[in-house]
């Protein structure tokens, strides 16, 4: 076992980079669940679509153009998702809606394969973020530091929106007491549209950010969705703060597992899920959209 590797600054940064990507993605999933009570199984497919769109838009404009445009396109898809799927089905059982989102994932996946093919695509970071810098004596990729920065900024922005804005306050209210919030005059339909757009927009943002970090390939949506679901359940269903904490824990245990128990590393996140569900079934967070 390589215990000395655990003290490496690059391993700490690796954990934070993975946590950042998961935080952005899981926040979107938690937001939609918090407000709509729906586990969106199409979230991984939307993230994959975001990554492929990021690749194509990046070729025409630039990485920075893709970083702005793709989340907006995915947010627009969120409008269709909310008005065409979630709202008409809001009175149906949770399982029905979850199955519809699963079906959407099954449609988006082959559509992406048809348009972009099945061979993995390599997306390079923009010139200003390529290469490595010395980080406490160790070389570390600039792009990963950028990813950590974006992940941290997203968390701060999301927390500020929820805490200090009227729509954020309404989101917290509706996720905790939807009937009371409605009686108090909160327009839940309009709020739901906003939150679903934010959620799908986050999946697009995560997809574009994942391009230069990971491989853009047809399996990326399914792989990350499992990690994301673990993060959301460990964090507490619908809890943003819990999802952020769970993403950081996930990143660290993944890195620690790879170093200390490489043959069992793939099982470590599931062990975390198992332990949290036994010890604290409601998850680590303090409740819905908190």
């Amino acid at each position: 076992m390589n215990f000395d590797q655990l003290l490496s600054i690059s391993q700490l940064a690796n954990a934070l980079a993975l946590a950042s990507l998961l935080t952005i993605l899981a926040s979107g999933l938690a937001l939609i669940f918090g407000l709509r009570d729906v586990m969106n199984f199409a979230h991984g497919a939307l993230y994959m679509l975001g990554a492929y769109l990021g690749f194509s838009v990046g070729k025409v404009f630039s990485f920075w153009g893709a970083l702005v445009l793709v989340p907006m396109v995915l947010a627009l898809l969120g409008v269709v998702f909310e008005l065409g799927v979630l709202r008409p089905l809001q009175k149906r059982a949770h399982m029905d809606v979850a199955l519809v989102t699963f079906g959407l994932a099954l449609i988006i996946g082959p559509a992406v394969h048809k348009i972009w093919g099945t061979i993995p695509i390599s997306v390079e970071p923009p010139p200003s973020l390529s290469g490595s810098v010395t980080l406490f004596g160790e070389f570390y990729p600039v792009y990963r530091l950028f990813l950590i920065g974006v992940g941290f900024s997203t968390c701060v922005a999301l927390a500020a929106w929820l805490k200090y804005t009227r729509s954020g306050m309404h989101t917290r209210a509706v996720s905790q007491q939807p009937h009371v919030a409605r009686m108090m005059g909160v327009n839940t339909d309009r709020l739901s549209l906003l939150v679903v757009c934010l959620g799908t927009g986050f999946s697009g943002l995560a997809g574009v950010l994942a391009g230069p970090y990971l491989s853009v390939d047809p399996g990326m949506g399914a792989t990350i969705l499992i990690s994301c679901l673990i993060v959301v359940v460990v964090g507490g269903l619908g809890s943003i703060g819990g999802a952020i904490a769970a993403a950081v824990i996930y990143g660290f245990i993944q890195v620690i597992g790879t170093i200390l128990l490489p043959s069992l590393a793939v099982l470590v996140p599931y062990m975390l899920l198992f332990i949290v569900l036994l010890w604290r079934p409601q998850g680590l967070g303090g409740g819905r959209v908190s």
């Binding site: 690059s10 690796n14 993975l18 390599s122 390939d217 792989t223 490489p262």
Partner: protein, 400 residues
């Protein structure tokens, strides 16, 4: 005088015979059915379309050449999710419902190992063009199993002279955490130790690893050389992430096995520039039949054949030679004919070794270099004939 019951029995027998004759005629006179297994989820799904395109094209080329004994081949594609159990279910469907007599395709080592015990009861041949595990030429040999691609033992043997030429004594290794990765790692470690060297770190990454950062950080305490045996999207992710860390620059030599492959080269970009990878085929290999194959393939697909396309062609060429020799498509007759059959192939006249059912074929090492058009291309550095690098048949292998 016949009783009513006897007359009824005779009538049924006659009816059954009347129906059976055309069915038997159809099986011996229609197209020869070949099954193709593909994977439609997980990292290997990225390769399925190419495998399907390659198989359809090579079958089309062989049919245009006349098929065999006046009969054409018909390819039946069966996709599955990628687990050994789903591979067995898909092969069973091909054999029992589609009536194929031969199966090939995207068979990972774990799939072939799971299929081997079932082949005889399914009455089908598996002519493997994909899996690399050494077990399939030792303890897991089977009567209905044949292999035409390059097993790990061949790759490590073929690497031997190349590794010696690098002068590297200490090595790090990163491989896929499943049968093929471990099988290669064991063979490569034995090779290095046999040469007086040492493999200092052997890391294994699970299929579908998202972030190789922690593996790369561990490999950043470099040795003389690094060997990478990661496949498909895992290989792409690792290649890109190592570039960001500048990992390969820390090694004097980087060797790949199934890593910097031809069909992924464009996607890899400069991430694998300089890597020397085992590669069994390049379109530029000499020979009139190969030149004809490349021309026919390119005219149909608008791309040059990759090594997997060549391996599939070898599987079909071997099967065709055996059917011609057996003058039958009956599985037991073709199996017998496969043993020792001479195959006039795109890479020369080859032979299927009867002792372990392996096609004795050449293998090579090619380096990723800068192409004149600014992209990257393979340059064959070593290409060794099969008889010089194939290990002797293993006594454990008894394909009877």
């Amino acid at each position: 005088m016949m009783t009513f019951a006897l007359r009824l029995r005779l009538a049924f027998t006659a009816a059954a015979l009347t129906l059976a004759v055309p069915m038997a005629t159809a099986q011996t006179q229609g197209p020869i059915k070949i099954g193709l297994l593909t994977i439609d989820s997980g990292p290997f799904a990225t390769h399925a379309k190419l495998i399907e395109e390659g198989a359809k094209t090579t079958i089309d080329i062989l049919n245009a050449e006349g098929g065999v004994s006046g009969r054409k081949f018909e390819l039946i594609v069966q996709a599955h999710t990628g687990s050994p159990a789903s591979a067995v279910a898909a092969a069973t469907k091909l054999a029992q419902q589609s009536g194929v007599s031969m199966i090939t395709g995207q068979t990972l080592s774990s799939h072939s190992l799971a299929l081997v015990p079932k082949l005889e009861s399914l009455n089908v041949l598996l002519i493997d063009a994909y899996s690399q595990s050494n077990d399939l030429m030792t303890k897991s040999c089977a009567a209905n199993y044949f292999r035409v691609n390059t097993p790990d033992a061949l790759t490590t043997k073929m690497m031997e002279s190349y590794v010696k030429s690098t002068g590297s004594k200490t090595w790090n290794l990163i491989g896929a955490d499943y049968a093929a990765g471990h099988s290669f790692a064991k063979g490569f470690t034995d090779l290095i130790q046999g040469m007086g060297g040492q493999v200092q770190q052997s890391l294994f990454a699970p299929t579908g690893t998202t972030d190789f950062g922690s593996n790369i950080s561990q490999l950043s305490k470099p040795t003389d050389a690094l060997v990478v045996t990661l496949f498909m999207s895992d290989g792409s992710t690792f290649a890109k992430q190592q570039k960001q860390f500048g990992l390969f620059e820390k090694y004097k030599q980087v060797i790949g096995n199934g890593f910097a492959t031809d069909f992924q080269l464009e996607g890899h970009g400069d991430n694998v520039l300089g890597v020397v990878n085992s590669l069994s085929y390049v379109p530029e290999l000499p020979g009139a039949r190969n030149a004809w194959f490349v021309k026919e393939f390119e005219s149909r697909t608008k791309r040059k054949p990759f090594y997997n396309d060549a391996d599939l062609m070898l599987a079909f060429e071997s099967f065709r030679a055996a059917v011609a020799k057996a003058k039958s498509t009956e599985v037991s007759a073709v199996r017998k004919a496969m043993e020792g059959v001479k195959v006039p192939s795109i890479i020369g006249e080859l032979e299927v070794r009867a002792a372990d059912h392996h096609l004795i074929r050449s293998h090579g090492m090619a380096q990723v270099v800068r192409a004149p058009n600014g992209k990257t291309m393979f340059q064959m550095k070593v290409y060794t004939p099969g008889p010089e690098i194939f290990p002797a048949p293993n006594p454990e292998c008894k394909p009877v």
